[in-house]
Amino acid sequence: MAGRSLSSVGPAVAEPTEGTAAAPAPKPAPRRTRRGSRAERLAPLVLVAPAVLVIVVLRLWPLVLGINFSFTGDGERNGTAVGLDNYLTLLDDPLFQTALRNVGLLVLLLPIAVAIPGLLATFVYLKVPGHRVYRGVYFFPAVLSPVIVAAIFNLLLAFDGPLNRLLGTVGLGPVDWLGDPDVTIFAVVGVHVWATFGMALVVFLAGFSTLDPSLLDAARVDGATLAQTIRHVIVPGLSRTIQFVFVTTMIGMLTSMFGLLYVMTGGGPEGSTYLPEYYIWIKQGQMNQPALASAASTALFLIMLLVGLAQIGVLRRTAGKED
């Protein structure tokens, strides 16, 4: 969920500030004091105060507390400063190592998770037969809770379930989707992609609506193939949207798979489907190691910052080359 809520950061940042950014410089005094009453002068602050209070107390303050907390001990050493001990414990913990390896896997799978909705959006935009229906159909799993999606796929991916039966009819052996440590993480990521590609698709379509149609017409007149059109017209024209989808998809993978992991695998088999967010949950709740969990939280935060910055950097460079 957090991932989805983040999906609206991005290019729009500059836009709404226009109204406010101009404020500090030439402050038109008459405007503020025209109705000189105290209540009137304080009105903006009164309107903003409750929201600011909630955000500061329940979001920003916990962030500071958590980072601070990650340098203290658990259990008997509760409250005492332990320096980097928690971080060293993390690096030694095979479960956390698996979680980090899985993050690496997600980064590798990311281009696929972006390319699928990107291609589909292209086809919808180019008006393949039935394009009106597809937008609505593809988007619909995105509104389902990961918990519901996970529960449904528990049935579908069962050893004697529909997917294995489908494989059987085309002559392939059954796969132990939720029991084979080498397979399960791919099954979970696959389900996540199934559930969320519609979200990215809708964002892509919104990007397409800003694309100049005359460029496509020109490509058509010049006899460009679909691949050429995508490469030379669509990708450069949508570089901002692509960048946005890359970042939000990655954030979604790192922060909104909890429901899937919790219901589908519980981190198993053999801890093979751990991700940092699940690790934090287990250490905080079941293992009662909140300080260690805080260290993992801080690590997750750093990973997200790094991944986000790296992606923006890489994409900016490739986008620049295209121009």
């Binding site: 969920m1 957090a2 809520s5 609206s8 991005g10 729009a12 940042v13 500030t17 109204g19 406010t20 404020a23 500090p24 402050k27 009105a43 903006p44 309107l47 903003v48 409750p50 929201a51 909630v54 955000i55 500061v56 329940l58 979001r59 916990p62 962030l63 507390l65 907390f69 180019l126 008006k127 393949v128 037969p129 597809y134 593809y138 988007f139 619909f140 509104v143 809770s145 990961p146 918990v147 519901i148 529960a151 049935l155 579908l156 004697d160 199934w194 809708v202 964002v203 790192l254 922060t255 909890f258 919790y262 219901v263 967010e277 934090i280 909140p290 805080s294 939280s297 801080t298 935060f301």
Partner: protein
Amino acid sequence: MRRTRWVVAIPMAALALATIYPLVFTANVAMKTRREYVLDRFSVTDSLRWDNIVKAWSSVGMSRYFLNSVVVVACSVAVLLLLGSMAGFALARLRFRGSSTLFLGVLAALFVPFQVIMVPLARIMADTGLLDTYPGLVLAYVAQFLPFTIFLLTSYYATVPPEIVDAARIDGNTTYGVYWRIMLPMGAPALLSVGVLNALFCWNDVLIALLVMPSAEHRTLMVGVTSLRGQYSDDIPTFASGVLIAAVPVLVVYLFLQRQIADGVTAGATKG
């Protein structure tokens, strides 16, 4: 390109089928008896049986969870829209010292995922006696989704022509009057869009609910769904019924408000 259109139409149709089928399968299972399911889980059910749904609704406690979810989501969305529109209006249309800094602070909060703050948040909730209470969960949701709400509403209010505010002032409205009589009604489309999205986020959430409202009688619907599998591992039709009960409200909202949901999701991506 004309030929390619038809070539890609086939995989796209297959994918559409793959998108719909899981839910159809679940609905079909929910209509079966246990015996039918064990004998053949793929056959189309011969009659619409609602026994499993009734069973899941009454004996599994889904009705209780459902009510908990409705109360918490309604309160959360109401508070989110109130605080969000107040702050959005002030940040977009009133000039005051530090407003741009505040807006940047809200943006910064957007980038803090829940997983990063959940441990200290649980501690704060425990220390203030809010853990495992309805107000506690409502506050947690408000804190989680308020930055996003303010962000969208600020950009919406920034598109309202300033002349409207000026005219309302000349007519003798105070700032509060402008907010209450002009901005709140004018913001209706944006409020609907943000409200629906927030309602979905809150309704679908499981992590925050698990953390803040752990006890059994306080379970929200999604937390209830997570406990179904263990309870009904030998009664899959009832399990499927519980899943269906949790999914149907979302599907109904989706059918009627698809546009608003998509607008909210894409608002950040297209501007600028």
